[in-house]
């Protein structure tokens, strides 16, 4: 399959020497659904803006439908639908005026899809001004504007941000209908793991400027687990993180929580063999927990390492964690 979206070694920083994206590489095939995950500030929006040609990468290349979004913006934007995280719609205009503008901009505009969506969202009164709409309604108008030209790629930057559960579900229903009927590829960023589960497909997790995880959702479920290893038995995280299949280990109270690629049963056996430690528990966890284990800060630290020379407790810091230094520890 040909890639419709391709990021290769993307680097971008906003402050000199502090890259937000530091070598991000992944691509999307036609009709594919990719959920872009990561903590606040992980660079999801930056990456999306680079794909939209709104930002230049400092290094690396981006190709959308094989084209550069900054060199051929019109050809690229014709085939993309985009709903930004903080969508700024012209507040003074009416729904009808805004839609008329999009209809004028996009020759492939589908009036029947427009009517259908406006009806579904209860936005049939198109003389309403944008500034009088609720947050959810404004987002729905933005979605109508983004999809009625039947794009090949729909990019949704936190479409559910700030929406109530019912509005989120309506948004999701529309996305799923588009998947069903149009085969639209969707790249979306979200903090709602349930929505990610429902939209399915592939998960790309950004952390520390890089892609930390890039796998099919089902594989993540069936082939990843969290191992809980007593910290009294294994002194430091590096010993765990160097084991094959380990993605990350972090201290949580008396245990290390380590994310492994493998089934719980296999990992438990492997750990008992390699570490010779009893009392290891391995469990499959929902996506939300996996997310926290992979990119969360060091959990509630208990002081195991005694006291340092200053008399202050020594907090252990496993390799690969970067938040401890900037975070106030409990």
């Amino acid at each position: 399959m040909t890639a419709i979206l391709e990021f290769r070694n993307i680097v971008r920083s906003f402050k000199k020497g502090v890259p937000v994206l530091n070598g991000v590489t992944f691509s999307m095939a036609e009709g594919e659904v990719v959920g872009l995950l990561g903590r606040n500030g992980a660079g999801k929006t930056t990456l999306i803006r680079i794909a939209m040609g709104m930002l230049f990468p400092h290094a690396g290349t981006v190709r959308v439908f094989g084209l550069s979004p900054t060199e051929e913006p019109v050809a690229v934007k014709k085939r993309i639908g985009y709903v930004a995280e903080e969508q700024v719609l012209p507040v003074g205009s009416t729904i009808a005026e805004l839609i008329a503008l999009h209809r004028y901009l996009f020759p492939g505009w589908d009036p029947s899809l427009e009517r259908q969506l406006l009806g579904r969202f209860g936005l049939s009164n198109t003389t309403a001004k944008i500034k009088h709409l609720s947050k959810g309604q404004a987002r729905q108008v933005a979605l109508v504007c983004a999809v009625c030209h039947r794009p090949d790629l729909l990019i949704l930057d936190e479409p559910a941000g700030g929406l109530d559960p019912a509005a989120r579900r309506e948004f999701l229903e529309t996305s799923i209908q588009l998947l069903n009927r149009e085969g639209t590829a969707i790249l979306f960023s979200s903090h709602h793991m349930n929505d990610v589960e429902r939209l399915g497909g592939r998960v790309v997790l950004l952390d520390d400027g890089k892609v930390r995880l890039d796998r099919q959702l089902d594989q993540i479920h069936e082939d990843h687990c969290v191992a809980m290893i007593p910290r009294s038995a294994v002194p430091d995280a590096a010993a765990i993180e160097s084991l094959p299949g380990c993605l990350r280990a972090r201290p949580v109270f008396e245990d290390w929580h380590a994310v492994f690629q493998g089934t719980p049963e296999a990992i438990r056996r492997q750990l008992q063999g390699s570490l010779g430690v009893d009392g290891v528990r391995c469990v499959s966890v929902p996506l939300e927990e996996l997310f926290v284990e992979l990119v969360g800060s060091n959990g509630c630290l208990t002081v195991l390492g005694g006291r340092g020379a200053s008399g202050r407790p020594v907090l252990r810091r496993p390799s690969g964690s970067r938040n401890l230094a900037t975070r106030s520890t409990p």
Binding site: Q177, L199, G200
Partner: protein, 141 residues
């Protein structure tokens, strides 16, 4: 078909669908020859990706529970496979573990749990309908 999806479950959604359809077949709510909702329709009803439903249907078909007839739709197979013995035993073991930890919380000893089981078994075999009789018949066939 009444399916319930829990997106926050550790079980992938396609497995949740598979399990519920197999349960519906085992429980007689779905019978051989019954037509299933198309995967696209079901995807819109449940608000989950069409590929997820398709994966569940594909796996069920590979296991022999359902069959697709081109142009007509998807149906429950004429001969559905016998339930997987190993998986059933695994489930019973899980229930047993749960039962034992409940008993522990309630302060019951192992002997008392056995008595409870015996009592429950008597109630089942004496009272109608004899739920425990069924599997025994199957084994003798």
């Amino acid at each position: 078909m009444q399916l319930v999806i829990n997106a926050a479950d550790e079980l992938p959604i396609y497995r949740q669908i598979m399990r519920q359809i197999i349960e519906a077949i085992a429980g007689g709510r779905l019978k051989s020859g019954d037509k299933l909702t198309s995967h696209r329709e079901l995807s819109e009803h449940l608000v989950i990706a069409p590929l997820t439903v398709k994966k569940a249907y594909d796996e069920l078909e590979a296991l022999g529970y359902i069959e697709t007839q081109r142009g007509r739709g998807t149906f429950v197979s004429a001969r559905v496979p016998e339930p997987d013995r190993g998986a059933q035993i695994e489930q019973i073991q899980q229930s047993a573990r749960r039962l034992l930890s409940q008993a522990y919380l309630a302060g019951l000893g192992f002997g008392e749990v056995v008595k409870v089981l015996e009592q429950a078994g008597r109630e089942l075999t004496e009272g109608p309908p004899a739920a425990l009789e069924k599997p025994r018949e199957k084994e003798t066939v």
